[in-house]
Every structure is written in C-alpha cells, then in structure tokens.
Amino acid sequence: MEFVYFLIRRALWSVVVLIGLSMTIFVIARVLPGDPARMALGPRASQQQVNQLKAKMGLNLPLVEQYERFAVGAAHGDLGLSLLSQRPVNDDIAATFAATLELVLVTIVFAFAVGVPLGVLAAANKDSWIDNLVRLGTIFGAVTPSFLLALMLQVLAGYVLHALPTTGRTSPDSAAVADITGLLLVDTLMKGNFAGFVDAFKHILLPMIALSAATTGQIARITRASVIDVARQDYIEAARAFGIPSFVRVFKYTLRPAFVPPLTILGLEFASLIGNAFVVELVFSWPGMASYGVRAILQKDLNAVMGVVMISGLFFVIANFLIDVAVGFVDPRVRISGQRA
C-alpha cells in the first residue's frame, strides 16, 4: 500500500515538474528579448503582417494570460500551430516522436544488455586487465562526442565495410510502415514482415551504438561499483555459509540488489540521452523529433521549438516515473517504506 502512495506522490510530483517546465519554456519563449512573430516572418515582412500574426498568436495579451493559454493548451495536448507550416505542432511531433522513442528504447535495452554484464565482469575480475579494459572503455564512452562516434560509425560501417545502411529508418524499397505502435521493430514483427524487421533492425543499429556509448559506459561503471559493494555485504557471506552455490549467490543474491543503482542512474542520464539523440538523429537522418526540432530552430519556428522541449521534458518525466516503478519491483525496501533507498 505504501508503494501505491509512493507512486501517487511521484506522479503528482511529475505533474509539478511539468508545470515548472512549462513555465521555464514560456519564460524562454516570451520573456527573453526577441519577437517571435517577427522571427517567424523574417525581416522583410511588413509591420502590419507582424501585427496580424501577433494578434493571432495572442502575443498582445498580458503575459499571465498568455501563459494560461499556453499551459491550458499544453495540458490538453495542444501545443499550438507551427508558425511556418500552420499545421498543429502536435501532429508534427506525433509523426516524428515514435521514431525517437524507438531509438531511445532500443538504446536503453542495448545499454543494459551490454553495460550490466560488463560491469559484473569487471567486478568479478576486480583490478585485473579485464577490469582496466572495461574502465578504459567506459571513459572513452563518456568522452567521445556522440556526433564524432556517429560519423566514425557511418564511415566505417557504411562507406568502408558497406555492411550497414547509414541513413534513415528503412530502405527506400521497404514497404514497412509503423502504423500499430509506431515502433517499426515491433510493428513489422506483429505483421509477420520479417524482411521488414531485418531492414529496420539494420537501420537502427548504427544510431543505437552511437547513442548508447555514454549510457552503456555509465551503467557498466555503476554496476561494477554496485556489485562490488553488494558482494561485500554480510548476507552474501551468510548465503555461502548456508551452502548456497556460487551461481545462485551471484545471479540471484548479488545481482538483484545490485541492479537498483544502474536503474536509478538511468533516470538521471535520461536528459543527456535525449540531448544526444538530437545530434545522432541528425547525423543518421533519423526521421525523429530531433530532426524536426533542429529544423524548427533553424527556421525560428517558436511554437514548434516549445513543443519539442515540452515533449522532451514529458518524455523525461514519464521515463523517471517508470523507473520508480521498476525500482519498486526490484527493491522491496522502496515498496515497503515508500521512499527511495
């Protein structure tokens, strides 16, 4: 029951974060110097055109009222019209968000699938050459600029080895469309389109590796430290004294409690993961939210930019809520006490 209260508290808190986020975005968009209407129309537009757009956007209203409009709209899932395309920002983002979601999800799965075993391996061979190699790998993962890694992968796997496609989400001749969940990998499988799945998988491979480097390194690092810490606990020695075999001690008794810190770290890493996704998407022409966002920025499409930032924040908040749930399932201490360990 405490866990339910805990989740309710976290959910309410998520809402507060989103309100704070909307205020921050609003301040950036409306309070910082700069005239959004003028920006959208460009320097050659007449003052009359600018005034018309201002009236349409409600820029003449008092700030509080403007914020109210924005916040109420956002709460209803209405992020306003794109100043350039005049299409609702929601539609544009909805069309691109699934691609970003797919990339980020696959990246997280990859980061855990690789980072956790590496961390366990390093912990089990503490101070050996394996440990040093993993440590060096995590440092390089953290300091390699994601765009550099993306470019290098593109050159290596695409142009030199000709092994993998270097741009886009599908091949031009692929008929696969993501119309069920929006996630191409899932939808192609659900439809039994195996060729489409393989094609989509090949396309996502390079962006995923480029995006996951830093997160994988962090998870490996935290897992290593956490496994070493848990392995020192009295309950692991007690398990040994009670005759529990070593594989059960490692894979059940150690790994489960050791899994909480990497999960928690993912929540903190999530913001930088989204940030890096912007860069990686651009390099690989991934048709996601980032490509849309960067285009909107270069074209000074303010509503679209605000929408993208808002959705990024929402993504972060939802991800962190889900991580709270996951931590609760792994660690009964959170479930029982209703507090983060």
Partner: protein, 286 residues
C-alpha cells in the same frame, strides 16, 4: 613517517603512481599550453579568420599541414589550436557561473533544510528534466546563436549537478559534531556555511569541476556541431567537424581530426578527474 612529508606531498606521490591521472594531467597541460600560446605556436595563425587559400584546398595531412586543410584551404591544425581557446573559454565561463551558484545553493539547502531546501531541490528537479542541449537549442532560437548565448543556456542548467552533489554531502555533515560545536559556540550561519561546510566539500568540488570541464566542452561542441553555437569564421571544434562532415569519407581529416581534438581534451579532463577521485576517495562524485 618523517616530518618532511606533508599530506600534500604524500598525495602527490600517490597521484604520480596513478597512470591514468598522470596522463590526464599531461593532456590537460598540453591543451592549456596550446590554447594559451596558439598565436605563437600555430603554423598559420592567420587561418583563424575568413582566409581563403583555394590553391591549398582539401590537402591531406602532411608536414606542411599536420591535420590537412579544409575546403577553403585553411590549416586545420592551426584552427584546432585556436579552437581550444573557444572550448576552454566556454567551459570556464559556464563553470565559473554554475559552480559557485550550484555550490552555494547546495550548501544552503543541505544546511538549512525546511522550506528553503524544498524550494531549491524542487527547482533542481525541474531543471534536471530539461536536457542542457535542448535548453540551449531553445534559447538560441529565441536569441541569436552565439557563444555567449550557448554559455548562458548551459550555465542555466549546469548548476543543478553541483547543487545535488553539495546538498548530499552537506546533509550528512549537518549533524556532525564539529558543526554542532560551531553552532554552540555561536558561529554565524555564514561562518558555518563557508568556513565549516565548504572546506569539507572542496575535494568533491575539485573532482566534479575537472570531470565537468570535459563534459561542458562536449555539450558546447555538440551545440556548435548543430550550427547553434559559435558562428563562423571563429574556429570552433564542433563547427569544424560539421563543416568537414560534408566531405566524408574521402577527406576524413576535415571532420575526424577536429573531432579527435575534442575527444582528446575531454579525455584529459576525465582522466584527471578520475585520478583525483581516487586520490581524494570521493567515490560518490560522477
């Protein structure tokens, strides 16, 4: 233990035995040197500006042009040296603002608790939800893309990490005896915050700043890679990678060597920070 060996001397000996830390320090010193003396040590100092030298376009690395030349014939090596100035300036300015603010807020939240703590840490949580890169994108949309605006945008979020770090340390120190003793003796709040608590956070801050130098440089590079940071013709590493990316893979040096230069400086600060973390035993700092 002889009296001649000071704690600092012992630290230094331990530091020297840590190969990664020594390599990190060496890299950082090389980069600082290159940035400080760029006008004197770069082979073509004039290539910093909007110089055009079409006869020498797209030259591969050679003894003349260590890192090759770019699409208007400028020496990439010279521009990398000057690019380090921008990177270090950006990181220095961001951390120069974010660290004092973040540390002060962390100390206040950790020591005073109550509603002050609630407000600071909740604002902190909100700030965490915004990716610094995305924030910078938004700010540079509204204002114009420039170095100053990138710095502002990154600094506006970067304090959160320092606040979190200092807050967690201060919270554990708050009820320790030396603080309670100082309180009993009637020390002022300012004295306790900055003379009692702050020195106990010093090593953690040092480690964090060292690691952050690399990370801020990375965010700045990503921003200018997207065309939203430093504007041409100022030589910036991220911009150079973006410009060179058009000529991949044949003219690989134009993108990959400036990219490697970013990796190099980030690696240096990270290794140094890692070594300092071992030295000061502050495992909690990331």
């Amino acid at each position: 233990m002889s009296a001649a060996i000071t704690p600092g001397g012992r630290r230094w000996r331990r530091f020297r035995r840590n190969p990664t830390a020594v390599i990190g320090l060496a890299i950082v010193l090389v980069v600082l040197f290159a940035a400080a003396f760029a006008p004197w040590i770069s082979p073509y100092p004039s290539h910093v500006g909007a110089v055009v030298n079409f006869r020498a376009r797209h030259q591969p690395p050679s003894l003349h042009y260590l890192f090759g030349t770019d699409n208007v014939g400028r020496d990439i090596f010279s521009r990398v040296l000057f690019g380090y100035r921008i990177s270090l300036l950006l990181a220095g300015a961001v951390l120069g603002v974010a660290v004092p603010v973040g540390v002060a807020l962390g100390l206040i939240a950790g020591y005073f608790g109550g509603w002050v703590e609630t407000i600071i840490m909740r604002v902190n949580d909100i700030s965490l939800a915004i990716p610094p890169l995305v924030m910078a994108l938004a700010v540079t949309t509204v204002l114009t893309p420039s170095l100053l605006h990138s710095m502002l945008a990154i600094a506006a979020l970067w304090w959160t990490w320092h606040t979190r770090l200092i807050y967690s340390i201060t919270r554990t120190l708050r009820h320790q005896e030396f603080i309670e003793a100082a309180e009993t003796l009637g020390a002022s709040k300012l004295h306790i915050l900055f003379r009692e608590l702050l020195p106990n956070c010093a090593s953690a801050i040092l480690v964090k700043v060292s690691l952050d130098f690399g990370f801020v440089i990375l965010v700045g590079a990503a921003l200018s890679y997207l065309g939203l940071g430093v504007q041409p013709p100022t030589p910036d590493l991220g911009t150079m990678v973006a410009a060179g990316a058009d000529f991949l893979p044949e003219r690989w040096w134009e993108a990959l060597l400036p990219g490697a230069a970013i990796l190099f400086v980030a690696l240096g600060f990270n290794l140094l920070g890692d070594g300092l973390r071992d030295l000061f035993d502050v495992e909690s700092v990331r």
